[in-house]
Symmetry: C2
């Protein structure tokens, strides 16, 4: 196990009716920016519950945060916060709204050009407090210090990390997710599953707590995923999905272990080129990446196959192949097709993505830095 520092200060109110806890998180002088995406929270009752909990506190609202939140939209929120002396950013929505809230929280007190936080890794020395009412289990953003922001005007999509942007509190009521479209739920399950794999399917460092917790989350997603899609109003199924998705990326399983994230790097390029849902790109990339990187990842693939899928019979190669097939089958079982052709995308994307990465100097990705643009091309060719 490698050395690490673990710190996750987010307070999480989880369960039925927990939006009512929002009022306990406010102080007498709270001035709130409510940040939201589209109108679904108006129709599923979340918005009215939030407003009831906010009571008479001065509340300003900014709607229209996009999937892949956009810098220009968020800068309007920054202006609003500065003008109205907002002291709490409340994200009501999914991971995109949360990521947007994190950027706004960091940008408001930032001295200088906020774009530098993303483009130049300018240090974030403080941020407004952030709260969240999560309505989509997927990204783990409700309990971590990371955010991904897009700037469509110049075709950029960049991430930043800071201990100051962990939400002060997050509220997760599984019932508020019952009405989500199946496509969004499937995407969320696939996203959470891949988050675990990025932190787990690397090489062994004898980190047993991290490994077994990762395997636990994977097994839960495998068991619960198809069932909660089939019966979306079963509370326990949805609650287990929500809590598993939080743990998939609340940093606990990533402590003291190598991490990969190559599937995300490659997937982001496919989204940039073809506008494909993030989770679908991961479902395309990961099974193929496992196949291409099967030597480097062999020990963990065998461990994952045995502990998550019960694959213990046959030759080592047969077990590796069966484990990759099971992984592919899992994505398919939650409605995520795993071939470029399933989405009508030509195999030419393989060279395009490789060239884009090479042009930006992204030439050594993965936990060993051994995934070159050539490897990326091979991975995507095999995913045709």
């Amino acid at each position: 196990m490698e050395n690490f520092t673990f710190h996750n200060p987010t307070r999480i109110h989880f369960g039925r009716g927990q939006i009512a806890q929002l009022s306990s998180e406010l102080s007498a002088d709270s001035r709130i920016l409510l940040l939201a995406g589209g109108g679904s929270i108006r129709t599923n009752g979340v918005y009215s519950q939030v407003k009831a909990s906010l009571g008479a506190h001065p509340t300003f609202e900014l709607w229209g945060v996009e999937a892949n939140p956009d810098y220009d939209t968020l800068m309007k929120a920054v202006d609003l916060c500065r003008r109205e002396r907002v002291n709490l950013i409340l994200a009501v929505g999914g991971g995109s709204v949360l990521d947007g809230a994190k950027f706004v929280a960091a940008a408001v007190p930032f001295k200088g050009e906020p774009w530098d936080i993303l483009a130049k890794n300018a240090p974030v020395e403080s941020a407004l407090p952030i709260g969240a009412v999560l309505t989509l289990p997927a990204t783990g953003s409700e309990a971590n210090g990371a955010a991904v922001i897009s700037r469509r005007a110049i075709g950029e999509k960049l991430a930043f990390l800071s201990p100051h942007i962990f939400p002060r509190f997050s509220i997760i009521d599984p019932e508020t997710t019952f009405s989500l479209p199946a496509r969004q739920v499937g995407n969320g399950i696939g996203d959470a599953f891949t988050h675990v794999m990025e932190q787990y399917l690397t090489y062994p460092v004898n980190a047993e707590v991290q490994d077994r917790f990762a395997e636990s989350i994977l097994r839960i997603l495998v068991e619960v995923g198809p069932k909660t899609l089939a019966t979306p109003t079963d509370y326990d199924l949805r609650a287990n999905l929500c809590w598993a998705a939080t743990w998939a990326l609340n940093t606990a399983i990533g402590m003291g272990v190598p991490q990969d994230w190559a599937s995300h790097v490659i997937g982001h390029e496919i989204t940039a080129l073809h506008g494909m849902d993030h989770a679908r790109t991961l479902a395309i990339v990961l099974p193929s990446l496992m196949n291409v990187q099967q030597q480097a990842k062999r020990q963990k693939i065998l461990q994952y196959g045995a502990r998550v899928w019960g694959i213990t019979e046959g030759s080592e190669q047969a077990r590796v192949d069966a484990t990759i097939a099971k992984t592919r089958g899992f994505y398919e079982s939650i409605g995520l097709k795993t071939r470029l052709s399933d989405y009508g995308i030509d195999v030419a994307v393989a060279a395009n993505v490789a060239n884009r990465l090479a042009a930006r100097g992204v030439t050594k990705i993965g936990e060993r830095g051994d995934i070159t643009p050539e490897t990326v091309e091979k991975i995507l060719r095999q995913a045709a």
Copy 2:
């Protein structure tokens, strides 16, 4: 799954040489009380590492915190803190020193008689910040908001809980535990194992993350426990033990699930009567409690047997019996005998403990409140 609020704000520096991180946790005006037990930290190098990290910060020391920390000792520390305007309590040692530090931290700013915090559940509205350098993996006190304090002068042993006493930071360097006596290591493993069982072996509420994380910790303790006793200087084994022991009682696996704690209640009485090590009392009580309570706990015993011990064959009763036998065998494998007679204690203790609990009105314990003094007597008779 039941509703819950989860919040664990402790920052943990984990790994080789991490005591050096202590200096990063101090501010220019830090005035420190170093709280310690016996002299082992002088011989194993921990004290000199701590002193080097504290540098020139004003540091006051109070040594001699007992196993089962004593109120009268701790009140000397409270006086010292008030006199010297200490603003950080630094526990250097195991769970007893940590629990003592938590009481001191709460007592210093407390208005009124500090004993009321324990005896009358007087509300703790603030506490001095607490830091810890942990030298014994066992209690989880390095990452929770609970403490147990004894007052030998009047024969009391009482607990208190507060969100204000979670350590601000804890440092865990597995190498500093290599020199611990086998008896203390075995006790620590048994203590951590039982902490998990108290939160897990109740009745099912479909809390899959909590269940699978609990089973993960149990499996790790089963695998790592005997090995780390046999090869105490193997870093990865010891690191996995340390990290598993923290997760055994950092509140994560206890969220949204019923909890038992009857083995602890009963065990505390045996310690009070016979001065037996805490972990040994748990090793005596838990296997017998599982047997007596096997109807109420049946579903979870079968789940635990299958997932932790791989017991899936035979009749339900055969699997329950085999699972209890495996649990007993585990305690024995780490050096904890599981019968009263192994420690020369007469079966008369069964009625004594039952009477003591009845006299204090402790008549309904366990996750269903169905363990009466009569049941306690039966449990201890079967543990003869």
